[in-house]
Structures are given as C-alpha cells and as structure tokens.
C-alpha cells in the first residue's frame, strides 16, 4: 500500500497576524510558518499505518519551510519526501493545490491520500473533498482512528455531540485526519540531523481546472466583541473577586 500524506505550512498560530497595507493579505514579514496541526496528525496516522501494515509513505509539503518539515517527516518514518512548488507567498488555497495533489496521487500510484481535515487557510474549501471528488475516490473527513482490515480501510469519524461513526471503505480513498490514533511522536534532534541528508524531490504545480472562484476583497481583524470585565493578572486578587462574584450569583457552596 502507498500512502500520500499532504503537509501544509501555515502561519504560526501563536504569532500575531497583521494585515498588509492593501488589506488583502497578511503581513508575512514577522511570521514563522509551521506545519498545520491536523496535517501533523495525518502524518502520524500514516506512519502508524506503515508500522501496523507495512505501507510506503510519500510526504508532500507545500509552503515556506517545506524542506525542514519533510526532513522531520523522514525522521519520523516517511519513505519519500517531495516539495510541491506552489505559489508560496500567499495563502495555501486548498482549492488551488487540489489539482497538484491529484496529479501526485496518480503519478505515485497512491492507494490512500491522507491530510489534515482542515487548515486555517482553506477559506475556499477543504482539500479532502476536493481531491476525493477530482480523483473520483470516496472521502471521509474528521477521522480519529484509522486501520486496515484486509483490503479495506476502517475509519472512525468524529461527529457532533461526541458521536463517532465507523465506516469501511475500499481503497483507494482520501481521508481527512482530525486526530491521529496516537499523539504525534517527538522526533529527537539526532534523528532529525540524520534525516537532513535526505534527498527531497520536487513536484510542479498542476492547475485544478476550476474556472471561477470567489476572491478576497479585504481582510480585517475582528473587533473585540467581548464586553466582559477584566479582573487582572494577580491570582490572589482574581480569586478574591471571583469568590465574591460566585457567591453573589449563588454559586458558592453546593
């Protein structure tokens, strides 16, 4: 079995986002880029499947810092690393990159495409359904457990209300991972240094072929909607105030 896992580099969620002067993009100068957390889980799930049933894992990365993340993927157990050359200086639009992922899935003869269920930049739609529909493969988003049973894939999907549905899907398929069966492993610096010698392949951008799309007119920061009262940062004062508030509202004492 061959698994293609997609790794998207997105602005660090801890960083402060500022807008460019034209208001259409975010200022990337002070930003660091990190692997989309859901994609990290997808990678872990791919490696877990490899460990459980001997798959080959091909990692493809898009965006700033791809090489570093691909080395990390190899250190964790990926067999092949490919950097996708997409327009790297803007949002990674999953609608736009779907064509390239589909082309790679075909050229690498993948049986399974794994990627994060969402990314913070998939404003124009999620990669999993796009890639699944374009490939004509079944797709399921939001998996929290993945296993191979015979030639079929068994997927547990998180639904609202704590409900989990389990499906069986014949391969090939595209799965959007929400949570890997196990938390992504830590890969030590010595293993990363070893993996830094890996040759990283290149893949060209392939258009998805959609004629029309929505476009961003302007970005803005949401105003602080909260009208709540700030109680400060001194634990003792806060505790005193909260104890008072809870008592006044009848919550102190069971």
């Amino acid at each position: 079995m061959k698994i293609l896992v997609v790794l998207r580099m997105i602005p660090d969620s801890a960083g402060e986002l500022e807008l460019t002067s034209d208001g259409r993009g975010i200022d990337r100068e002070w930003l660091d880029f990190q692997l989309n957390d859901f994609d990290d889980h997808a990678l872990e799930e791919a490696i877990l499947l490899k460990e459980a049933s001997g798959a080959t894992v091909v990692a493809v990365a898009i965006g700033e810092g791809s090489n570093r993340v691909l080395q990390m993927a190899v250190a964790r157990g990926a067999d092949e690393a490919i950097a996708l050359d997409a327009q790297a200086d803007g949002m990674i639009d999953s609608r736009a990159i779907a064509g390239s992922i589909v082309a790679l899935a075909r050229s690498k003869a993948a049986d399974l495409v794994l990627c994060g269920v969402q990314s913070t930049e998939d404003l124009f739609g999620q990669l999993v359904p796009y890639a699944g529909a374009l490939l004509g493969w079944p797709h399921v988003s939001g998996s929290s457990r993945l296993g191979i049973e015979g030639s079929a894939l068994r997927v547990t999907q998180e639904r609202g209300g704590g409900i989990a549905a389990t499906y069986e899907i014949a391969l090939p398929a595209v799965i959007g991972v929400q949570t890997a069966s196990k938390a992504p492993r830590y890969v030590s610096g010595s293993k990363l240094r070893e993996a830094s010698k890996t040759t990283i392949g290149k893949a060209r951008f392939e258009p998805a072929g959609f004629e029309r799309s929505a476009e961003i007119v302007a970005l803005r920061l949401p105003g602080q909607r909260g009208t709540g009262e700030h109680l400060g940062d001194n634990p003792e004062n806060v505790a005193e105030r909260l104890a008072g508030i809870l008592a006044a509202k009848g919550f102190a004492g069971v």
Binding site: L17, P129, R154, I169, G228, E229, E240
Partner: protein, 322 residues
C-alpha cells in the same frame, strides 16, 4: 433565484443549525427568491415537522441506518442541484458539511467560501464575511453566482419552526443511492451519558490546553467538586486522553448551556465557542490576553491558572465550611 439550504438530523432531532440555514438563505436572497430546504437522512419526520419556514422541502430518506455517510448525502444533493438548478447552495459547517460542500464545488466547478458568518446580495454576486486563521481574521469575499457557501452554526438566528405544508414536500427514497455507496457505515458509537450529561449540567468547569498536564486536571476537578460542577475539557485535552470523550465541549463534543461556565486555560477556538458561548455566566482564565475566549467571557483574568485555582478553592472551601 433558487437557494438550496442543506439540513441534517441527528438521533431523532433536527439539528438546530438546519433552521439557521434557512435564515441565511433569506439573508442571501432577494425578493421573489425561492428557498428550498434539502434533507437527507433516516426519516424526514423531524424535517417535515420543523422546516416550514422554507418554501419547499426536498427530502430523501434512507430508512434503516441512523446516519448516512456524507458520500451519499453529497450524491443526493448533487442530483437535487442538477434538477433544481439553484443559484446558491448553503451547507452547514458540520462533520457532514465538511465532506459535502467542497465535493459539490469540485463536481460543479462553482465557487465555494467556507466558515461564513454574514451574507449580502449585490446584484448577481454575493458579498460574504468569512472566518479565516481560526477566527483571528475576517475575510470579505466577492462571490460570483452560482455558488456554494459553508455557513458557521450560530452565525444566523434559527428560522421559526413550523410544519411543512404537505403540498410543499417532495419526498424520495434514497436507499438505492446509499446501497451503492463506497463508504459503508459499520457502527455508531454514542457516548454513554449515564455517568455524565454535560448538556444538562448547570455548572461546568472546563479545562483547556493551558492546563499543561494530566495531573493538573485533578486540581481543576477539586475546584469543580467544591462548586458542584461537572469537569469538562476542550478538544486538545480530550485528544490527549486526559478526559473522556463525553466530557468534551465544542463542535465535535457537546454543545452546552450551563448557568456557570468556568474556562481554565481554554483559548477559545471557534469550534469551542460554538459549543459554549450561550452559557449564562462565562468566566475565563488564560494567560494570553488575546485569547478569543475573552470575546465571549463575562469575566476574564490573565493570571497563573494554578495559583488562582488553589487560592479560589481555598476561599470557596472556607466559605462553605462556615
């Protein structure tokens, strides 16, 4: 123009966001536009009983299984879209919607905008406001029609609940489509609410990633015990296995509406806020003053979690001992 509003049910009940889709459709529409509710699921009864605010209801029922795979839902929707030729399709941002919206976009080639909060019609186009970067930024988008929008639950008010006039109901049997599906449902796990049901809890202490480690949850649990509250967690905490799934608050967990919601170290991702922002009293403690949880909190503090919890527990304990 015709607008299709997608709806869903879950375990015998219509998902409340179904009614929100009808309101959103009205917001996007102009006078004379027709809003068609689309339903696919086990049994259309709850849809028929509630979706009268739409002009018509197109329902496909699959009979024996509680939920149908998004693959079948998408296929049924695509057939309805082909037949109805709408100018706009609204899909709720739900577990099902995540697979349906872009699938339809890929098959029709239509534009799609996700995580939509606001819609406005500008002639032959729409102007929508959507969340990007986990709600840290709002994007104003220009959308040519026909188009698909994936709409955030909670962004629009629920339409009035009333029964669909039988003359406005178009019902079909979806069993053949479901049977052809390649995604075969083999089981549904429903959390066991015997031990705890957060949806009916009056007081909840919810811990987020900021709690740091598993053992610290005991400290929060101590406070919850003093308050007579249920302990709950955000997705990262439950994913780490520190709390059981039944105690998860948010989109993929429980939607709660307690009288007291104390959030400890919860940053407040949109998916979490969706599950708790309607609580009566929200108190949030997080060291990051920019955490979105403060947008919905009635009282917020940015102090050290552990010192606060220890100190507050002591005070409340002393008060209840008196």
């Amino acid at each position: 123009m015709r607008i299709i509003a997608c709806t869903e049910r879950s375990f015998g009940k219509l998902e409340p966001f179904s009614l929100e889709m009808i309101t959103a459709a009205r917001a996007a529409g102009a006078t004379g536009d027709e809003v068609v509710a689309f339903f696919a699921g086990q049994d259309p009864e709850p849809a028929v009983a509630n979706l009268g605010a739409a002009d018509r209801l197109v329902a496909a029922s699959a009979g024996n299984s509680e939920l149908i795979a998004a693959e079948s839902y998408a296929r049924l929707l695509k057939d309805v879209v082909a037949a109805e030729e709408p100018g706009l399709v609204l899909v709720p941002y739900s577990a099902n919607g995540l697979d349906v919206a872009a699938d339809l976009a890929a098959r029709t080639g239509w534009p799609l905008v996700s995580y939509v909060n606001e819609v406005r019609r500008d002639g032959d186009r729409l102007t929508v406001i959507a969340q990007v970067y986990g709600g840290k930024i709002l994007a104003e988008c220009n959308v040519p029609l026909p188009a698909i929008l994936m709409v955030n639950p909670g962004a629009f008010a629920e339409a009035e609940r009333r029964t669909v006039d039988p003359s406005k109901l178009q019902h079909s049997d979806a069993r053949a489509v479901v049977a052809e599906g390649r995604v075969r449902l083999v089981g549904v796990d429903v959390p066991n609410y015997d031990s705890v049901d957060l949806t009916t809890a009056e007081r909840i202490v919810c811990v987020g990633r900021g709690i740091g480690d598993e053992a610290s949850i005991d400290i929060a649990r101590g406070l919850a015990d003093i308050l007579g509250a249920e302990i709950a967690g955000s997705r990262p905490v439950v994913d780490s296995g520190w709390l059981p799934k039944v105690r998860q608050v948010g989109k993929s967990g429980q939607k709660v509406k307690p009288k007291l919601y104390l959030a400890l170290g919860v940053s407040g991702a949109p998916e979490h806020l969706e599950g708790m922002s309607k609580s009566d009293l929200i108190i949030a403690v997080n060291t990051d003053p920019k955490a979105p949880i403060f947008n919905v909190a009635h009282f917020g503090a940015t102090c050290d979690l552990f010192d606060l919890v220890a100190n507050l527990s002591e005070r409340l304990q002393a008060a209840s001992d008196r």
